[in-house]
C-alpha cells in the first residue's frame, strides 16, 4: 500500500539506445493478452495463496448473501438456554441470549461484509477522485486537496465514533460514514502518486499534442492505468473497514439493532462468556473476522503485485551473478 517511487534514472544527455535483449519479433509474434482481467487471472493462478484468498472471499460472500436461506435457525427466536455447549443440533452452541451461534455467524457476517464493502466503496470513490484531481492537475488543486487529506488523515477513529454516537446516536449508517471518512485518505495518497507518474508518461503527454481535452485524457488514458491500483487498494481497504467495524461494535458504538460479528463478541464479552468458559460464543466470530481480513490481504496483495511488478521483492534485491553451468551439448 505504499505509493510508487518514481524511477530516478539520470537523464542521458544525448541519445539512448534501449537494450533489447531479443530481436524484434516479426508481426507474426504471439499475442499475450494485456487486459486487466487477464493479468489478474494469471497472477491468481500462479499464486496458491492468492487463490486461497479469493476462494475464501467468494465462499464467505455467498454465505452472507444466502444467509436468510441457509441459516439453520431463526436468529430472532430463542432456541435454548444461554451458553449451551455445542452439540449435534447446534454446531457452535448457543450464545448469551440462547440464540444459535452458527446462524448468528451467518447473519453477522452479512452485516459485517455489508458495512465493510459499503464503507470501502465510498472511501475508494472519494479517495480516487481526490487522488486523480490532485495528481493530474497538480498546482493549486494539489496543494488544497493534500492539505485537506492531511487533516483527515490524523483524525483518530475512536474519539470520532464516540462523538458521533453521542451526538447523533449509533446506527449502521453512521458507522459506514465514519469508516468511509477515515479511510479515503490512504486511497487518495496512493492514487495521487500513481496519477503523477502516469501523467508524465510519453503517451499521455502525446495526447495533449493531439488536442485531447483533460477529460478525454483522464477517462481514456489515466483512469485505465489507475483502475488496477484502485482495485487492489479497495480490496485491502475492505479488510481494514471490517476490522474497524468489528472494533467499533465491540466497544458498543455500532448499531444496537443489528447483529454483526463485532456485536456478537461484545455481547459475549459483556455476558462474561470467558469466565463461564463459553468459548464458542467469543472465538468463532473473532476467527471469522481474522479469516476475512486474511483472505482480503492475500488476494489484494496478489493484485497489487500483478499490476506493479516493481513491488515484488525480487526486483529490489541485489543482482546475483550466475553460477556458470558449462554444458557440453550444442543445440
Amino acid at each position: 500500500m505504499f505509493p510508487e517511487v518514481a524511477p530516478n534514472a539520470v537523464e542521458p544527455e544525448g541519445v539512448v539506445i534501449p537494450a533489447e535483449p531479443e530481436p524484434a519479433e516479426l508481426v507474426t509474434g504471439k499475442r499475450a493478452s494485456t487486459s486487466s482481467f487477464a493479468v489478474v487471472a494469471r497472477a491468481v493462478r500462479h499464486s496458491p495463496s492468492a487463490m486461497t484468498g479469493l476462494i475464501i472471499l467468494v465462499v464467505l460472500i455467498l454465505i452472507a448473501l444466502l444467509a436468510p436461506l441457509i441459516a439453520p435457525y431463526n436468529v430472532n427466536v430463542q432456541v435454548g438456554k444461554p451458553f449451551t455447549h455445542p452439540s449435534g443440533g447446534h454446531l457452535l452452541g448457543l450464545d448469551d441470549g440462547g440464540y444459535d451461534v452458527f446462524s448468528l455467524l451467518m447473519w453477522g457476517l452479512r452485516v459485517s461484509l455489508l458495512v465493510g464493502f459499503a464503507a470501502t466503496f465510498v472511501a475508494s470513490g472519494v479517495g480516487s477522485v481526490v487522488g486523480i484531481v490532485a495528481g493530474y492537475f497538480g498546482g493549486a488543486w494539489d496543494s488544497v486537496l493534500m492539505r485537506i487529506t492531511d487533516y483527515f488523515l490524523v483524525i483518530p477513529a475512536l474519539p470520532l465514533m464516540i462523538s458521533v454516537a453521542d451526538i447523533w446516536g449509533p446506527s449502521l449508517f453512521h458507522t459506514i460514514v465514519v469508516i468511509g471518512v477515515l479511510s479515503w485518505t490512504v486511497t487518495a495518497l496512493v492514487v495521487r502518486a500513481q496519477a503523477r507518474t502516469v501523467k508524465e508518461r510519453v503517451y499521455v503527454k502525446r495526447e495533449r499534442s493531439i488536442g485531447a481535452s483533460h477529460r478525454w485524457v483522464i477517462s481514456h488514458h489515466v483512469l485505465p492505468q489507475l483502475v488496477p491500483l484502485i482495485v487492489a487498494n479497495t480490496v485491502l481497504n475492505i479488510s481494514y473497514a471490517i476490522f474497524l467495524e468489528t472494533a467499533l461494535a465491540f466497544l458498543g458504538l455500532g448499531d444496537p439493532n443489528l447483529v454483526s460479528l463485532g456485536t456478537m463478541i461484545q455481547h459475549a464479552f459483556l455476558a462474561s462468556a470467558v469466565v463461564q468458559g463459553a468459548w464458542w460464543a467469543i472465538v468463532p466470530p473473532g476467527v471469522l473476522v481474522a479469516v476475512i481480513i486474511l483472505a482480503c490481504s492475500l488476494f489484494g496483495r496478489a493484485i497489487e503485485d500483478a499490476f506493479n511488478p516493481r513491488l515484488r521483492a525480487a526486483n529490489l534485491g541485489a543482482r546475483s551473478f550466475t553460477r556458470i553451468r558449462v554444458s557440453k551439448d550444442t543445440s
Partner: protein, 330 residues
C-alpha cells in the same frame, strides 16, 4: 607469432524465457585479441554483442546458460565457473559498462568508490589507494580535486571518464567497453573515443569495444567483427572492411549510414532479424539479403578466410561451389 592474449572459442549463450523457451542469443562466437590490439564488435540491437562481452566476465543473469571457452593467456577462466572468473575480473580484464554514467552509487563520493575497488581487489592500503585514485583521474582527464565529489556533480562525459578510471584501477590487460559513448553528445563522444584510443596506445591495453555506431567505432578500432543474429558474420581490418565489405549485411549497413559530406541515397534494410528462440536453417540474413540465391536457403555459411586477414560468412565469397564444408544445423 605470439599467442593471443584473449581467445574465445565457440561461445554460446542461451537465455531461458518465462514460458520455458530458450533464446539462443550467442551462437558459436570465436575470436582472438592480441595484446595492445583494438578490436570492435559491431551490430544492431539484439545481435548478441553485449551478451558476448558480458559472458567474457561471467556477468550473465541467472536465466542464462553458456558453453565455450574463454582463454586468457592460455588458461580458460571459465573452467571453474565463478571461482576462476572472479580472480580474473578487474585484475586481468575489466569492463566499462553501457550506461556507465549510472554505474556509480549516488550517495557516495566517486573517489571512495574507486578506493574501495583498489583496497578490495588490489590490496592497497587506504593512503596508497587514495593516491592511485587521484592518479587515475588524471590519467582519464578529470581534475584531481574532483575525487571528493558526488556523481551528480559530474557531467555525463566526466562520469564516463570516471567509469573508465574505475575499469583501469587494477591495471587490467584487456579492457572491454560496452557502448561507452551511448547517451553522450557528439562532442563528448569524440573526446571519450579519443581518450580510449590514447589510453590503449599508452598503456598497451587490448581493447574490445562494442557499438552499433559503425563510423564511431572506426575511429578507435583497427579490426572489426560484425555480428548478426548471434554470430560473427564478417571480420577484418577497419579500412578494408569499409571499402570493400565481403558480406551483404556489412555492405547494406554501410549504405544505410549517412555521411555528412558524401550525400548519397540512403538505404534501409527491410524486415527484421530472425527470432533467436527457434533454430535457424540456412543463412540467418537470407530473408533480408539482396543477393541471396538457392544455396543460402539450406546451407548455413561458415566464417572463413576470404582474403588476407579477412573473414566472412557468406556463400557469395566461394569461388568453387564444391569447396566448403557444410555446417549442419539441427
Amino acid at each position: 607469432m605470439n599467442a593471443p592474449l584473449l581467445e574465445v572459442r565457440d561461445l554460446n549463450v542461451w537465455f531461458r524465457a518465462d514460458d520455458g523457451s530458450r533464446v539462443h542469443a550467442v551462437r558459436g562466437v570465436s575470436f582472438t585479441l592480441d595484446a595492445a590490439e583494438r578490436a570492435g564488435l559491431v551490430g544492431e540491437s539484439g545481435c548478441g554483442k553485449s551478451t558476448t562481452v558480458l559472458a567474457l566476465l561471467g556477468l550473465l543473469p541467472p536465466t542464462a546458460e553458456f558453453s565455450g571457452e574463454v582463454l586468457l593467456n592460455g588458461t580458460d577462466i571459465m573452467a571453474e565457473g565463478e571461482d576462476s572468473v572472479q580472480s580474473a575480473r578487474w585484475t586481468e580484464m575489466a569492463m566499462v559498462f553501457q550506461g556507465a554514467m549510472n554505474a556509480f552509487n549516488p550517495v557516495r563520493r566517486v573517489g571512495s568508490q574507486i578506493v574501495e575497488v583498489l583496497r578490495v581487489r588490489a590490496g592497497l592500503s587506504k593512503q596508497a589507494a587514495q593516491d592511485r585514485a587521484r592518479e587515475l583521474f588524471e590519467l582519464v582527464g578529470i581534475p584531481k580535486d574532483r575525487v571528493r565529489r558526488y556523481p551528480h556533480e559530474f557531467s555525463g562525459g566526466m562520469r564516463q571518464r570516471a567509469a573508465i578510471a574505475l575499469a583501469l584501477a587494477c591495471e587490467p590487460k584487456v579492457l572491454l567497453a560496452d557502448e561507452p559513448t551511448t547517451a553522450l553528445d557528439v562532442m563528448v563522444q569524440a573526446q571519450i573515443v579519443e581518450l580510449l584510443r590514447r589510453l590503449c596506445e599508452e598503456q598497451g591495453l587490448a581493447l574490445l569495444m562494442v557499438s552499433h555506431d559503425l563510423p564511431l567505432i572506426a575511429q578507435v578500432c583497427t579490426n572489426l567483427n560484425v555480428m548478426y543474429a548471434g554470430e560473427i558474420i564478417e571480420r577484418g581490418p577497419v579500412a578494408d572492411l569499409y571499402r570493400s565489405p565481403a558480406h551483404p549485411y556489412t555492405r547494406l549497413l554501410l549504405a544505410a549510414t549517412p555521411d555528412i559530406v558524401d550525400i548519397t541515397e540512403l538505404v534501409s534494410i527491410k524486415g527484421a532479424p530472425p527470432a533467436l528462440s527457434r533454430p535457424i536453417t540456412g543463412c540467418p540474413f537470407r530473408p533480408r539479403c539482396d543477393k541471396a540465391f538457392d544455396r543460402c536457403e539450406n546451407e548455413s555459411p561458415v566464417l572463413k578466410t576470404v582474403a588476407e586477414h579477412r573473414m566472412a560468412a557468406c556463400h557469395l565469397n566461394d569461388k568453387v561451389p564444391s569447396d566448403p564444408p557444410v555446417k549442419v544445423n539441427p
